[in-house]
Symmetry: C2
Subunit: 145 residues, 2 copies
């Protein structure tokens, strides 16, 4: 995503355009811009993944994504681009809840797991033959986890 | 978020401005626009919650939020605005992972719960005095949950 042009030794117009197109990242291709070597989106939105950028652009807008990445240290940008792509994908799939829908599902999963754990522990407490400190169940209630 | 103006019976300039300001939603106030009665953002971003809109605007952009809401049926807009506000808040708090960071935490929580459940079940399997179909533990492994 940049307005700067690429240099080429080839003087015929067509090959220059083709070479430029081949180099362009998905963002610059989508926005019909030339892609400079220092394009901030290029490393994270390659031409091979056009839908990934289309999603992110639709939800956040290209300039917001570029700004977010620019404000981060280089070593954190790939994770941020990955996370924004996931969020954008979820919101395209579910325009009402987006990633909050995924969070709600996981919270339900946790609730069901905890209920199952409580049920299992209740069975142990009821049916345990001995409940003293020497019981084989001693320590199960004080899990370090 | 609208350019249409409010009507008022008051003819002095100052009260009109004050009345308009009082009526403006957080979005129109932030964007320094007049707020019409059919403003799509007004019901979900009241003037009393200025930070909520500021977050959403920073992450998604006001026009993207307005477009998303307009494309949804009216009865789903409040949930969508709520979800977008939560996502925006998480991304402001954690510019690298945003809501994906929350999802990662919940997944760790699920993993730990499942490990604890497996540990508890393993203890039962080892220490159970009887393991036949009449055992008090029978049925624990085939939970409907």
């Amino acid at each position: 995503m940049s307005t700067s042009s690429h240099n080429s030794n080839n003087t015929s117009p067509s090959p220059i355009i083709n070479e430029s197109n081949q180099r362009r990242c998905a963002a610059c291709k989508y926005l019909r811009k030339r892609c400079s070597r220092d394009c901030v989106l290029s490393p994270y939105f390659p031409a091979s993944l056009p839908h990934r950028f289309a999603c992110v652009h639709k939800i956040f807008g290209a300039s917001n994504v570029a700004r977010t990445l620019q404000q981060l240290p280089v070593h954190q940008r790939a994770q941020a681009a990955e996370a924004m792509s996931a969020e954008a994908y979820w919101r395209v799939q579910d325009p009402v809840y987006g990633s909050v829908g995924v969070i709600n599902l996981l919270q339900q999963h946790i609730y069901m797991n905890q209920r199952e754990l409580a049920r299992t522990r209740a069975h142990i407490a009821i049916h345990s033959p001995t409940r003293g400190p020497c019981s084989p169940w001693a320590g199960l209630w004080t899990s370090p986890i």
